[in-house]
């Protein structure tokens, strides 16, 4: 693996490899000494053109736990605000010796451009691009589901037969897209639940069902109910009449929590708009995995950085049998 740009083209084998490696990373995070020496001497640049708290901190924690050096770059207050292009910014980072670039950008496809343009030789990790994809979020969500469903028995398993409802602003959500592709690859069945105005015009090519009524989706007893954040910063048109109406018809409140089976889990990628798409009762219930998702995010990002950075860039053939490695 050289880059992680999306989940739509991520193979099942690579996805399981990341999830299983994340299990081992998660084990090390329960130790007294959480730091591993694995990426000593490597430099990871967090290149964030959009605001982020948890994703950037999560990547930073992951890189530091693996002993990599971390350089944080936020577009605000940088030369980007003077009009520097992505190419010049990237080449500056390359000249400083970055081994991996974690990029979040408002334009869909910016990480792909960075990875394929030949500007830099560093590995590229997409940390969210426009309304396209947010692959590490999907991987940590899948990891969290697998952990809740199978516990310590998770290694090597996919999510065959798991029914997942993704609720909310599907139109703008890169989290929904990444999750849908990854969950489909892992064998889960995805239902998108949203007001018709917040579903893209043509979703016939997507491997998911679309339902327009949250109560109907809950009545179908999904194993996982994933709520999306209403992205108030992208609500530049009248997608729904008012926040109160959205909360009443699409918000996951105490009544809907009671209607959902006690074995189903409730997920939210954060940051939550409490009282809008999720009520405090639901967010703080035992079925909610919000904080587990944050903790698992560090393990999953450690796995991604490890798999991207630890090996040599050339890949000679190796034997997997009991050859001497001692």
């Amino acid at each position: 693996m050289r880059n992680l740009l999306d989940t739509a083209t991520l193979s099942r084998a690579d996805a399981l490899r990341i999830l299983d490696t994340a299990e081992d990373m998660s084990d090390t995070q329960r130790r007294e000494i959480k730091k591993l020496p694995t990426l000593r001497g490597k430099t990871v640049v967090n290149l964030f053109f959009e605001d982020s708290t948890r994703t950037r901190i999560s990547f930073e924690a992951a890189a530091k736990r693996l002993s990599a050096d971390v350089i944080n770059f936020a577009a605000k207050g940088s030369s980007v605000s003077k009009g520097e292009s992505l190419q010049d910014t990237a080449q500056t980072l390359q000249a400083m010796g970055a081994d991996a670039v974690v990029i979040r950008h408002g334009a869909s496809g910016a990480p792909h451009t960075l990875a394929t343009s030949g500007w830099i030789s560093a590995g590229v990790v997409n940390a969210g691009d426009g309304t396209h994809e947010h692959p590490t979020q999907a991987l940590l969500d899948a990891f969290t589901m697998r952990k809740r469903l199978y516990g310590d028995d998770s290694r090597g398993r996919d999510l065959t037969g798991t029914r997942v409802a993704i609720v909310g602003d599907v139109l703008h959500s890169r989290v929904a897209r990444s999750n849908m592709w990854l969950l489909h690859t892992l064998g889960a069945h995805v239902t998108l639940v949203a007001p018709p105005t917040l579903v893209p015009q043509d979703v016939s090519a997507w491997p998911a069902d679309v339902v327009y009524d949250l109560d109907e989706a809950i009545a179908a007893a999904p194993d996982v109910l994933m709520l999306l954040r209403i992205q108030l910063e992208r609500m530049n048109a009248a997608y729904f009449p008012s926040e109160r109406e959205y909360a009443r018809r699409w918000g996951f409140d105490a009544r809907r929590l009671a209607a959902l089976g006690a074995d189903s889990i409730v997920m939210h990628p954060g940051p939550m708009n409490r009282g809008l798409e999720i009520s405090a009762e639901a967010a703080d219930s035992a079925q909610s995995t919000v904080l587990e998702q944050v903790a698992n995010g560090v393990s999953v990002r450690m796995a991604v950085l490890y798999l991207l950075l630890a090996g040599s860039t050339t890949t000679p053939a190796t034997t997997s049998t009991g050859e001497e490695r001692a």
């Binding site: 490696t21 090390t28 130790r31 591993l36 490890y306 090996g311 890949t315 009991g322 490695r325 001692a326």
Partner: protein, 176 residues
């Protein structure tokens, strides 16, 4: 290219029986002992030795695995390795005598990595090393305490250990 078997299943079980007795002897019993296998093939070997020590002494020996992938010094020279699980017995390793178990001892670099990994997990009273096959060519000052078989080999040869838990049969072979 020729392949020659150097240990059959009876040779391997005799070697493990002797190693088990040597561990009991040097430890004066099975008390305060923890066996940790290095994946992949050190793990079943550690489990077999633990079972044998249990048979000989009537005491249960905690057994686990310690993955050294994240501590290797040659990661950037090889394709990315997928790590294996580390399982430390609930009783921990602090103050215990830890016996590391691996199939082949070659450069000694895996063992160095294992010592680093142990340091992050706890502080054993002593660390010992049990090896099924010592093929020489050490690159670090590391020496096994318990050896199944010394197998002088050339650097160009490959020593392959096959175990029934993983490969369906017990055999050590050398390929040149």
């Amino acid at each position: 290219m020729s392949t020659r078997a150097v240990m059959q299943d009876a040779d391997i079980s005799r070697a493990l029986t002797r190693i088990s007795h040597e561990i009991i002897e040097s430890n004066r019993g099975a008390g305060e002992l923890v066996l940790l296998g290095i994946p992949t093939r050190g793990v079943p070997l550690a489990e077999r030795i633990a079972a044998l020590i249990g048979d000989f002494t009537g005491q249960t020996v905690p057994v686990g695995s310690i993955d050294v992938t994240m501590y290797r010094d040659d990661l950037h020279r090889n394709p990315t390795r997928t790590p294996h699980p580390t399982r430390i017995p609930d009783s921990g390793i602090d103050g215990k005598t830890v016996v590391l178990v691996d199939d082949v001892l070659f450069s000694g670099r895996s063992i160095r990595a294992a010592l680093d990994a142990l340091q992050d997990i706890g502080r054993p009273a002593a660390v010992r090393l049990a090896i099924l096959v010592d093929r020489g060519h050490r690159e670090l000052p590391i020496r096994p305490d318990f050896v199944g078989k010394n197998l002088p080999s050339s650097r160009s040869e490959h020593v392959a250990v096959r175990l029934r838990e993983i490969d369906g049969e017990d055999e050590v072979s050398i390929r040149s």
